[in-house]
């Protein structure tokens, strides 16, 4: 038996705005940041759980303070009891009777729960000596169902339906795990297409991405309409007719504008339009989806919780479901969304990039494939080639495939030197700035 002794938080910020990496129509100058938490125990095994909420810089101190607000509900708990009922703890945190008002289940409070829950999963996977995806994929269907919170979901999926789906697909697990280990997860890249990059850089990086083996590339759009046409033209010209081209408006448009602007890009054979409008507008997404077909609608990095995903799926508003590992309240809520998406036959293509998001979502996509099946190549995972060097177990992408992680844990642990150097405002990177 061991106890959780402490949760230590850090405000870690990377000055990405200096080079306009990550710039888009709405996030014009992000400093990719992590409100980072380390969970320690008295087990004496040297293991810690690491988790974080991703933010864009300012406000990361608020996000860290919110993790602190939840810490008293976790510190002191018995580790083994927590691991026995991760679903219970997850619901206790998202439903905390006073903190709940600040959401409920959205924004800063929800992301704080994500950071803590993910840190606990990291610790559990390290203890069991497995990468997180494998830990989850080895569970019985009953265990998996018990992890998810079905509150507000039962009009779309019941625990019994989820159980049935997992049971039915259980037989193929071993083969899918083998396929995953052999082939890895397909990746697409957003690196060529940041809005702050000029045409020459876009052209060069697109060619490099193709040379690296990528068959799907995403461009940021949504500022100037003529720029969008020109930039899509450049990308498609460099890519030729085969590879998939996606665009991402990062919520820049109203519903009528979204329809008009996507239709204006019809010549470029787009696979998806991502975040065409407000992430809160499930009705708007469904209107856009009908109007811009055959271009598919993708969204999710700002979908605040499982209830929003439920509605997007109920309304046939998305053709690609883009979970975020830190905006949803951690692994548990992600599982609920994976089950919903599987029931609706919509592939999950996780949002990544930022800092550490690629490291996390590779586990989620791998679990999704092994436990829920379908076509491996449907689960195309975003890849952005930034900031991986700060992680102890960075993701490995070769020839546009994520290699299935093999180290125990959730790949969420940041190097100690990086935490120190980029701590805001007193780390070496910022103290001199």
């Amino acid at each position: 038996m061991s106890r959780i002794t402490a949760l230590e938080t850090f405000d870690v910020r990377f000055p990405t705005s200096r080079e306009l990496d990550g710039s888009d129509a709405v996030n014009v100058d992000p400093d990719y940041s992590a409100a980072y938490v380390v969970v320690r125990t008295d087990a004496g095994d040297g293991l810690e759980g690491h988790g974080f909420a991703f933010t864009c810089g300012r406000g990361n101190e608020v996000q860290a303070a919110t993790i602190d607000a939840y810490a008293p509900f976790v510190a002191g708990l018995e580790v083994e009891a927590v691991f026995e009922d991760m679903g219970g703890l997850h619901q206790a945190l998202t439903g905390e009777s006073q903190l709940r008002w600040l959401g409920p289940e959205k924004g800063v409070v929800h992301m704080a729960v994500a950071a803590i829950v993910n840190a606990l999963w990291d610790l559990r996977a390290k203890r069991e000596g497995k990468p997180l995806w494998k830990l989850l994929a080895d569970m019985d269907p009953e265990e998996i169902v018990a992890l998810a919170d079905f509150t507000y979901l039962t009009d779309a999926i019941t625990p019994a339906e989820a159980l049935g789906m997992l049971e039915e697909r259980r037989a193929g697990r071993a083969e899918r795990e083998r396929t995953l280990r052999e082939r890895g997860l397909p990746a697409y890249t957003t690196s060529p297409g940041w809005l702050g990059y000029d045409d020459e850089k876009l052209r060069r990086l697109t060619a490099e991405a193709l040379a690296d083996g990528f068959t799907q590339i995403k461009l940021k759009v949504g500022a100037d309409a003529e720029d969008d046409v020109r930039r899509c033209g450049i990308a498609r010209e460099v890519m030729g007719p085969g590879p998939r081209l996606c665009i991402d408006a990062n919520q820049a448009w109203d519903v009528p504008t979204a329809i008009e602007r996507v239709r204006a890009l019809a010549d470029f054979d787009l696979t998806w339009i991502e975040e065409p409008t407000s992430p809160d507008d499930v009705v708007g997404h469904s209107v856009i989806a009908r109007a811009v077909a055959p271009v598919g609608v993708a969204t999710g990095e700002h979908a605040q919780n499982r209830v929003v995903f439920k509605q997007l799926l109920q309304l046939d508003a998305i053709r690609y479901c883009q979970i975020d590992a830190c905006r949803l309240a951690g692994v548990n809520e992600v599982i609920a969304v994976l089950l919903l998406a599987a029931k609706h036959g919509v592939p999950v293509c996780p949002h990544a990039g930022g800092v550490g998001l690629c490291e996390l979502v590779q586990h989620l996509a791998a679990f999704d494939y092994v436990a829920l099946g379908g076509d491996l190549d449907d689960r195309v995972v975003e890849y952005v080639d930034h900031l991986h060097e700060h992680f102890v177990d960075p993701c490995v992408v070769e020839r546009a495939r994520y290699r299935a992680p093999s180290a125990p844990g959730y790949s969420s642990e940041m190097r100690r030197e990086s935490i120190e150097r980029y701590s805001f405002p007193h780390g070496a990177e910022w103290a001199g700035a």
Copy 2:
């Protein structure tokens, strides 16, 4: 010319959980709190702007810290320029390029903007020597339209449509203002029906409310089903067949449960079911609305922004629109929702209670009536008889009518002694606890 010199924040908490005031199926033990902000200037006129975000206790420090995160974008601004373009400042704050990630436009960040925007409106109304409702009601339609952010709304209402509505209804303003001053705003009471109260207290307080002139009473439901039937029976028995009985589930139910539980109360002639399910579930609310008619669906105290209200109205999911003065991003976003509701012909019945919410929403309901017309008695404003003594200009409710506020400002200013005594954790009320 004058400048904003400082924003000072306070973490003020009232220990309401000690008596179970405010207890419901989800908020079982709230300590009504305010993350409070005072805006000061160098004008030398002795005027300050006061605003706050309401919370339920724990996490109020996070809410206050979030207001601090926005303060640098307001401190130093020229007051007159801010007042010239309140719509512009409102959008600059809700769209702040890095803080935006923490919402966007929801939860803690959105409520922080509310606190600041409301404080600025308080200051402006004090400067102009008018209660806020009158300041707004005296504006030209063009000025009013310029206050609202139509981003993501244009598929439901355009600025031109809003302008047309306001112009059309302008002729009746003077008469409606007279009616408002003579009759006040109709109030309903939630005080008898908190879930933590026993049957005897419910019976006694219901009788007292009727004796006080209330013709609409709201009960908390959503925990035990048999309790709901018994409690509704007691209230209806005491009330007789005339007065309106409403119930409030505070998000306790899934969609199928909500339908079943409301139908089980059909005998009690309910006017509305409030918050039957997740506030994020616009599709669910529309399903419930169709299934439980003739009982109307009401929601809004947790509707995070104008985009959620837009969808609730587009889907005919609500028959009563319950704006909150502090969850929406202040006066400006409330105006957008008032315009949306008016276009859809849905009456706005503000959420109040908590601490200071009654003081604020009386202004919003008064403006709504004067500027947008309709039936005065449709705008029934929640009233809870708690904590008003802490305000410099408390609302006055007599014979179940809110008297139209007359003091300059937004009635948002808390007494200095109360701020000090209830400051957490060092005020006298908490230091000894």
